[in-house]
């Protein structure tokens, strides 16, 4: 019964707010509607509305999906120090990290649904109901762990928020065990996603041992970037107290992750260009261009430049602590890894294709529209959840102050 009240009260929370809040919501809804129109177009005419073809059969949607899985996994970056090392300044922000993870997974699911040819056949993936190809198919495992991670985070967050709302103490064993379980699961989701690519001997660019570590390193440096910006916004617009040390610590951890990421990139570049086998064509296409095709070269180098600058900004304590340079670093790191996961991973893996053909792909207007819509949906989910979570965390929204019968 009380849970029912909690849900009702939360709904009230999200439907009432300041003008800025509603303008932001309106903007997101416009994006979502635009995306929905694009999706309707795509349903009607088929995936030919995208620029994907047989030669490059995974592209923008799957690139976004891969990046967002990394973002979802990265919330664990906050969990590890907070719970394992009992680092108090981070404990407050952990729940926000989990909300980010939930929103990211929602977007991941969105990108998968718009990418497949028959979304209505999703039930074929449900174990026992459909025919899930476990244990062979890594993609099937990915579906399992991603949904499991989503459910786990939803359970943790709902439980914690509900307890706060009820002004009850939460069961620490329950929460801590779930949270501790979420750490290997977060690493798991991104590793399994990496294995989807890694396990394909047909694609030599992906069939390299460095792929899974690289995924994790780039996830850990990019995911928290959004959180850092968000924490600063929340600090300004709500009464939420987030200590500077928490923000600086996250930025420092991101720096180390980026350093490792760049090291792995360097290792990959060495292996490819020093050995110089036929399989080097993919890296050649990426970094230099191949047979006159060099559409993605500037993006790849931009990504490296952004990453290096961000690394420097986050490594030097003074620039890390300066809000201006730190935020520039966040944007650069986000952009750098976003390009790396999309243009720098999916496209070179498929260009040249398995029969040596080069098809230069770039997203079509429909794909961009739909992607915008999905990002809008993700941000909307995040906003609505924050709208409920922040007041609860502040103690301003709880059962005492929102019982409908007494009003």
């Amino acid at each position: 019964m009380n849970f029912f009240k909690f849900v009702k009260a939360s709904l009230y929370c999200v439907t009432h707010g300041s003008k800025t809040y509603f303008i932001w919501l309106a903007f997101l809804i416009v994006l979502i509607l635009n995306g929905a129109l694009g999706l309707f177009d795509q349903f009607h005419n088929g995936l030919i509305m995208t620029n994907m073809r047989d030669q490059v059969s995974w592209a923008f949607y799957i690139g976004n999906f891969t990046f967002l899985v990394g973002v979802a996994a990265a919330s664990v970056l906050l969990v590890i120090p907070a719970y394992i090392y009992n680092w108090k300044p981070l404990k407050e922000v952990v729940i926000l990290g989990e909300l980010l993870a939930i929103s990211a997974i929602v977007m991941c699911l969105g990108f998968v649904i718009v990418d497949i040819g028959h979304p209505e056949r999703f039930w074929h993936l449900i174990p026992f109901l459909g025919n899930m190809n476990i244990p062979q198919s890594v993609l099937a495992w990915d579906v399992l762990v991603l949904n499991g991670y989503l459910v786990l985070n939803l359970v943790i967050v709902t439980y914690l928020l509900y307890c706060s709302y009820m002004e009850k103490k939460y069961n620490t064993t329950f929460v801590h065990s779930l949270v501790l379980f979420s750490i290997p699961l977060a690493i798991g989701i991104h590793t399994v996603t990496a294995f989807v690519y890694n396990g394909l001997p047909a694609r030599p660019f992906w069939n390299a041992s460095i792929l899974a570590p690289k995924f994790l390193a780039s996830a850990f440096c990019s995911g928290p970037a959004i959180l850092l910006i968000l924490l600063q916004i929340l600090r300004r617009t709500t009464r939420l107290e987030i200590r500077d040390e928490a923000i600086w610590k996250i930025a420092e951890l991101m720096a180390y992750a980026m350093a490792f990421n760049l090291f792995l990139t360097g290792a990959e570049v060495f292996k490819e260009f020093y050995s110089d086998t036929h399989h080097t064509v993919y890296s050649t296409y990426m970094y230099i261009g191949l047979h006159g095709h060099n559409a993605i070269v500037p993006y790849v180098w931009a990504s490296i430049l952004f990453s290096v600058i961000a690394l420097i900004l986050f490594l030097i304590p003074s620039t890390r602590r300066n809000p201006v340079t730190m935020n520039i670093g966040c944007v650069l790191i986000y952009a750098g890894v976003y390009i790396e996961k999309g243009i720098g991973l999916v496209i070179p893996g498929m260009t040249p294709d398995t029969l040596g053909e080069i098809y230069e792909y770039f997203p079509s207007p429909t794909e961009i529209r739909i992607a915008e819509g999905i990002f809008g949906l993700g941000f909307l989910t995040f906003t609505l959840m924050l709208k409920v979570a922040v007041p609860i965390a502040l103690g301003e929204f709880n059962i005492r102050q929102s019982r409908p019968e007494t009003v």
Partner: protein, 314 residues
């Protein structure tokens, strides 16, 4: 309008503590709408669409269910194309494992196999789907696919100094596509043909990423096929007209070979470069090739173990 009970001075500006009775009805309203929408959707579909939606995986269909599915498909296709279409589900023959031989010393790159296949297998004409791709390469460089030409179009073939290598599904014994499919929509039949259940495939294209030979093709839009172009003798796992959004590939003309005929590409090849037969029959052409000719496997190092053998007849 109920009065605001909160008198707490430091409540947040956005007034999230006011309760309204509207929220109750709003929530139940939404629930009813969702339920009604679902019911409407199911009711508005005709029984065929409903049946198609809930159709189980081909390998789980019992005999009567399969008969029902085939009848429904025959009805749908016949209506769609205005002529009688048959959809069979002939099973594998006993003691048969199909193998294919391609004589690289003979192929002249005329592409007649490509178009014979398209006609036999009811491939979409627009957008174009070809299940065979012919690579033109230079004799003095050998097989170097990164320098292959897929779009050669000289006046006459073969071009001086060039050789031709057609590529289609290699029917691997260790098929990567089968391993990665998350819903098991593709599998190897007992006679060695790797097939796709077009009504089970969700169109995720993981199999296309996994195939080292570029042999799997996606229907990016609704396949276009006129009644005149349609080949009405079809097999459920083979050349029946496909929907949009599913993957297809060469099936060794399953609708033909399970009746004992050669695939269409073997029949049409004007130079006899294509050989087909039962690997388990010691007297078959394909066994002769494997025992007497220099045979090689395309991308052998990937260990997919194809049943498609390239050889040099000369």
């Amino acid at each position: 309008m109920k009065k605001n009970k909160c008198t707490n001075n430091d409540r947040p500006k956005d007034d999230c503590l006011k309760k309204e009775s509207r929220t109750i009805s709003r929530r139940s309203f939404l629930k009813t709408m969702a339920g009604a929408a679902g019911a409407c959707f199911l009711a508005s579909c005709d029984s065929d669409t409903r049946e198609a939606f809930f159709q189980r995986h081909f390998r789980e269909l019992g005999r009567p269910e399969l008969t029902g599915v085939l009848e429904r498909l025959e009805r749908q296709y016949s209506e769609q194309f205005g002529k009688t279409v048959s959809v069979t589900a002939d099973p594998s023959m006993e003691d048969v494992l199909f193998g294919y031989g391609l004589d690289l010393s003979r192929c002249v790159g005329c592409r007649r196999c490509v178009y014979a296949c398209v006609e036999e297998n009811n491939c979409s004409r627009d957008p174009q789907v070809h299940l065979i791709r012919v690579l033109e390469m230079e004799k003095d460089r050998g097989i170097d696919i990164f320098d292959a030409n897929h779009y050669y179009n000289p006046e006459e073939v073969p071009r001086e100094g060039h050789f031709y290598m057609p590529v289609s599904c290699q029917m691997c014994r260790n098929p990567q596509c089968v391993t990665v499919c998350p819903v098991g929509a593709t599998w190897t039949e007992p006679d060695g043909i790797v097939v796709v259940d077009y009504d089970w495939c969700i169109g995720c294209r993981c199999c296309m990423s996994a195939c080292p030979y570029g042999a799997r093709h996606f229907n990016w839009a609704k396949p276009s096929l006129t009644p005149e172009e349609l080949n009405p003798e079809t097999h459920y796992l083979g050349n029946r007209p496909r929907p949009a959004g599913v993957v297809e590939k060469c099936t060794f003309c399953i609708q033909r070979v399970r009746k004992g005929l050669y695939p269409a590409c073997v029949e049409i090849c004007p130079v006899g470069a294509r050989k087909f037969g039962n690997l388990l029959d010691p007297k078959s052409e394909i066994r002769y090739i494997m025992e007497n000719k220099r045979v090689f496997i395309f991308k052998e190092e990937i260990n997919t173990q194809p049943k498609f053998y390239y050889f040099y007849g000369t």
